[in-house]
Amino acid sequence: MRPTTRPQKGHQWPGIIAIICAALASPQAQAQTPPDTSAAAIWRATSRLGYAPTPASAQAAQKSAETWGLQQIDEAHAASQTPPKISPDLAAFNAPINELARNYHAYTEERKARRQERTNSAMSSTEMAPSEPADDSFRREMLRGANTWHLTACSDPATEQPLLAKMTEFWFNHFNVSATKGNTRPFVGHYLVNAMRSNALGKFEDLVLASAHHPAMLLYLDQAQSSARGLNENYARELMELHTLGVGAGYTQTDVRELARILTGWTMRFSQGEAFYFAAKRHDTGEKQLLGQTFTNAGEAEGIAAIRMLAHHPATAQRIAKRLATTFVSDQPNPALVKKLATTFERTQGDIRAVMQTLVQSPDFWLSENTLLKTPLDFACSALAAQGGVKNERDIKQTLTFLSQAGQPLHAWATPDGYKTDAATWLAPEALTRRADHALALGSRMPEPTYLHPFLSTTSRERIEHEAPKLRSGLVLASPDFMRK
């Protein structure tokens, strides 16, 4: 096998196939094979630091999958600092946030007026007013844009750098907001792109701060309504339990309330076109004690200081390290790896790019026993990527339906914990057959992705070759090999 091999045609990959066969046949050969030049390493790198290999990335990773992986981190970081490529017909969801807030406000006002009009006409009429369904066009339209962009971004390297797409998903899930909550729905896409994507390989504290200031989060966890006189502790609790410290970190119910008091006044003022607004009048000006630290009245700055403190807490480093290791390496990551990642996190004050470099450079990332099963979203994005990205509206609809039925609806995980990524959650017998439904449906309208053949086991490849041509594309996507990452 030479690096110049053109990957578009499967039969030009005998070298890689020979390596896999040798590795399978002899454990000694496996030990001697440099792990990062095998097809397995390329599959692992492209499927984990992104969603799936493309003909181009499969070739690019051939020299050294590790070098390729490290390059992805730099490229993803660079891409995160550039605007996303969103087609103009979808771009409304990504309007500047204050504009989006104003648009949403105008929409809700108009809806209110129309409802009032209906009530009035119903009262003046002897007949029953026709019951119109609630008009949800604005929120639906914003979510449609977000969903379409997300599926395009995760499956097409020309739209989005693949690792950046993966990291954006990771953080969105960590700081989950959900379109199942009506008032959060129009902001979900903006949050994904502007709070998560742009900080995806930056500093962790910036992610927490961006999330805390965004209307999607302010609304989703009810922070927007909390005030000195009417405290709501929902966001404060999840900020410590889920976003930063983790449940066993030793904070108390008193800490939850104190943090909620610190954050009073963090809200928005859509009527003035302000997507974030610190309402000084609603702020609790008294002294607070959070994790042994005293906070005296300093308005919004109090909350920022508290968030910084939480973001830099050792328990947070541990928690983020564990979640990254679980997502990218193994369902049960080696504690030594988690410790190593946490050390980098602490040393660099939460620099995600550095933590990801440690992760890709660790032997654990490349160990064959550290298997991972694709989640339904991994599977759906990788299947789209295998056909060269989203081709039409039908691809989007079918993928969204598949994700909902699989129990991982896009942007609609209802609870703030986010979905899990482990096989114990997603390896459910009937669910596996539903992946096959989706694979065969997509496969029926795409040419066979022969560039994936080298990544299939010999057995799978031979079985697929025996089948009718019209089934083959789907069977590649439905194969057990394609379920792993």
């Binding site: 199942t180 966890l221 009810d222 309504q225 909390s226 005030s227 006189r229 009417g230 405290l231 709501n232 502790e233 929902n234 609790r237 339990e241 889920l242 449940v247 066993g248 119910q253 939850v256 339904p376 039925q405 699989a406 129990g407 991982q408 209802a414 609870t415 914990d417 096989a423 114990a424 959650t425 997603w426 390896l427 459910a428 017998p429 009937e430 669910a431 596996l432 057959t433 539903r434 096959a436 439904d437 065969l440 449906a441 057995t459 799978s460 079985r463 697929i464 089948e467 009718a468 089934l471 789907g474 069977l475 439905a478 194969s479 057990p480 379920m483 792993r484």
Partner: protein, 443 residues
Amino acid sequence: MHTPYFSRRLFLNTLGTGIALATSSRVWAQPGPAGSKAKNQGRLVVVFLRGAYDGLSAFIPYADPYYHQLRPNIAIATPDGTTNTALKLDATFGMHPAMAPLLPLWQQGCLSFIPAAGLPQPNRSHFDAQYQMEIAHAGKTNGVPGWLNKLAGTHKTTAIGVGEANPNILSGPAKVKLIPRGQAAERTGVLADPNARQALMDLYAGNDALGAAFHQGANSRMQSAQELATEKTESNKRRSMAAQQEHKDDTPMSAQAFATEMKAANNGATDPIGLQLDAHHLSTLMHNDPQLRLGFLSAGGWDTHANQGNITGTLANNLGNLARGIAQLRQEFNAPDDTIVVMSEFGRTTAENGTKGTDHGFGNAIWLIGNPINGGKWHGQWTDLTPGNLNDNRDLPVHHDYRSVLAQVLRHTFGLTDTALANLMPGAQWDKRLNNLIRSSSI
């Protein structure tokens, strides 16, 4: 169907209570009356309300003045006989009017609740508390099977779950059946095509976890989708026959008139949706396969931190959907030893918060439905909402460990011995105060 059963039960009830009180205080249960054999014929469905539902809005201590004081905006009004107030159950509790579909069950004596139950220690994290309740193994944080899975394993039976990919309560070494929510469960999909099916079975012929799962899943799905599709056809037939029956004296109807008529015969309802449909799927499959003795359903959207409403609003809608789902389940899951448990990870604060909602609390009501349940009354200890009675000055206390409630049910439905209960839920204790929960004639 259960009337004769009912009266026999009432008679024996008195006797059973006497026996329970007479026995000594071992850590776990007392042995049954001499010569009696623990039963092991029941079936159990657990309905988990994820997000901590507000039990004080479901079962309302309307007679307690503190209840109304603590909840100026969200309290449900004292019963006045209309549907704008709580539906009166007894002198202490009323039921949310949105739960009216369950009132007949209370009146028939097969619905009960334990108003202040929960985890032994306060745990205000949804996810941690749910996990604890699903594994029922105090002190463990990972690697422990769910208790329904464990029970399926020890009893050589199969558990079935609807909706969630693989909930903790069902996960573990025993094989379980998991079907999706909604109409997707009725579809065989690509497996209906023999060529595609064979190709997939061959592709997954490998002797590994994925291969085994795929084969198990394909067989399970073909069977369940077929059963559910058949049931759907038959229930449509039943409905159209009912419609025709009503119209037999009239001239033949047009297709449209016939459709209207069908809808009318079904009391205006179309095909069941949401939790009702899932409940129907669950009970159909459990009915067809006697091996399926354990069922699991879940419902979300209970984390009402803001604007939860009172007789109408978010929570009322949710309770209404739940009540219809449970009523549907009970209609089809009503053999003599069938039991439904409705539970949630913790309760919510007794006082409303500053945003007309409620925050994370502690004690909460667990509901029980079924013929073995000594219903039409509530069980266990209840202390009113007087400030001194509250946990942390804000929550209902837990008077009964949730495991003690489950133990009563499991002893009855699955005949679990002391040892079996101790293995299933390590560290839990038998709670004699709940000995009247199961009708003695059922023991």
